[in-house]
Amino acid sequence: MREALIARVEGHGRIEVKVKKGKLQSIKLDILTPPRLFEKLIVGRHFSEVPTIVSRICSICSASHRVVSVMALEDALGIKVPEEVELMRRLLLHGGVLESHALHLFLLALPDYYRKASFVELSKDAPELVTLGFRLKGLGNRIQETVGGRAIHQITPVVGGMSAFPPAGELESIAGEAEVLMERTYLTLKDVPSLELTPLAQVENWVSLSGREYEYTGGDILINGRERLRVEDFSRRFHESSLPPSYVKHTLLDNEKTFMVGALARVLNNRSKLKGRAGSFCRELGLTRQKSTFMNNLAQAVELLFCLERVSWIVEKLLKNREWSEEGIVVDFTPRAGRGVAAIEAPRGLLLHRYSLDDRGYVLDGDIVTPTALNLSEMERTLRDMAGHLLREGVRELTPSLEMLVRAFDPCISCSVHLLEV
């Protein structure tokens, strides 16, 4: 029996692989990040406190949690927000994707591509790569800080609007930095070497939102580029269960199929809507042809370019039609009883919040479905396939490859690998 730690992912978890006489007996992924019971913590709280509480589910995805909770509560309360509020929230979400993808791709995943133990090692050989990663991450954080009020656990998105707007000069400087980084990011990422393991982890089913444009909000749920499902009908096709000792629930499509969510799923479902540099880079990479889990890393690269283009575009649109003021906009409304649901694309994939409120605006119950939970069964399936394959090829040291595979999903958990040899 051997034990090793998977580093360079978020949270606590463990892969348990049992091998007998060179044959795979079983493989299991346990998420050991202890339960924090957020769905219960919010019961009996006023709707206005919910976004502040649920953003604490995850620091990296805090902007996504905050915004989607606000949207679900607005759905319950029948609130429509003006376009500039929507644009401002979208800008914030793009900041979140930039920070999350840059952290994952440059600092956690790319060291594998260059056979380095960590970004610190990588920075000795390829300092320009690590510097660029930090600069992209820094831009993402600057956006979240300027628009949201803080890089983590943002402040400004509130039910009914945004409590404050950033200074116009700050927005212009953000757009400027995005334009500067565009070309540099493309030139750097186009030369990333490929991973040998790529053909070993084929994606069979993928799920993401899909609307008119390539976006992180709006639209329906799209399954495998073909079947549409309205967000409110999510639980008709997707069912979850929690299996001990894992604290995360497994979700299956139609009770049997595992599926992937995240950057790759979004790109597979919406590639025709990717324009500009992001669009051409996507075609160059051929990632939609290969459909490998490992391509999720490169799908994040495509989305980094997409976000950089989009950030300039949103800023321009925001500043055009408005006598700029840093006062926030919060629409008038009266609390009422109701149920609401909203889904967005968090950096790591589909994220869904549902709430019901009593007539004074207190929460009766809530339900939160996170991308890492959605990916869990698919992680196990691809791990099983790949471990089986590697064993048949006579590979003895499974851990590094399995680690890389888990990392490609960009899970929100740190994982430790337990290899059991019987």
Binding site: L5, E49, S59
Partner: protein, 246 residues
């Protein structure tokens, strides 16, 4: 002159959202400088553990599992300074709610498996071990973290600001939300250090830094009653980050 040996520093995460360690990685390129100044022996999100004992340990998150308490006791014996980072580690944080309902909640959320969980009510580090320094905030502020580590490397414990958020808010020239807009702001009783982030953006302070030493909770509660807040509303206001302090 011989190069001085670098201090070994480890970062550890208990039950948390990982936000305090993420805030440290938000130093961006300066993170590489931190790696030059100190010898980082553990930072799971960025590298595999070196297995080397740290001299200074920074711990985020609350304690909910027996293994976490055991880990901390062991860590305490090894290190010179043990620092609690963020409100989860300092007070139990936003998740330390509903001590009595906890079993029932677990059963509701995980009907198939709750009996196998050994998950307890979130406790702050100082409930289990002696803590040398508490860095407040949800999350902590990276600048204040740097201030603290600079002190600790010199062998001195830094002081935490002992005045309320209101001071920072006034220095920024903000219009007071409590006074002029009747919003239930916790700035008057909350420790400064965030630069009045929320009041500067149209939102009353939620109190994530916890109380400063001379905080007068009762008089603020009186003011809230005067604003027409119900007892339930006042309780909810205070127990976002405050309940365990009282």
């Amino acid at each position: 002159m011989r190069e001085k040996k670098k201090t070994k520093v480890g970062f550890y995460s208990l039950t948390s959202c990982s936000g305090d360690i993420l805030e440290i990685t938000n130093m961006e390129e300066d993170l590489l400088k931190l790696f030059e100044i100190v010898d980082v022996v553990d930072l799971n999100v960025a590298m595999a553990s070196t297995g080397v004992r740290p001299e200074i340990a920074f711990v985020e998150g609350a304690i909910t599992q027996p293994e976490e308490a055991r880990f901390l006791r062991k860590l305490r014996k090894e290190v010179k300074y043990l620092v609690a980072m963020g409100s989860c580690a300092c007070t139990g944080g936003v998740i330390a709610r509903g001590p009595k309902q906890r079993r029932a909640w677990l059963r509701d959320v995980y009907p198939e498996s709750w009996e196998e969980f050994r998950s307890g009510f979130p406790r702050p580090l100082r409930d289990v071990i002696q803590v040398d320094l508490e860095i407040p905030g949800c999350p902590i502020e990276r600048r204040y973290f740097l201030h603290c580590i600079a002190y600790l490397l010199k062998g001195v414990l830094p002081e935490v600001p002992n005045y309320p958020v209101c001071m920072e808010c006034k220095m920024k020239g903000n219009e007071c939300l409590l006074r002029y807009r009747g919003m239930p702001c916790l700035g008057p009783i909350t420790r400064a250090g965030c630069g009045a982030r929320q009041p500067s953006r149209g939102r009353p302070c939620d109190g994530c830094f916890g109380p400063y030493a001379d905080a007068n909770l009762d008089s603020l509660v009186e003011i809230f009653r005067g604003l027409g807040l119900s007892e339930r509303e006042i309780k909810n206001r205070l127990d976002l980050f405050w309940e365990r302090r009282r």
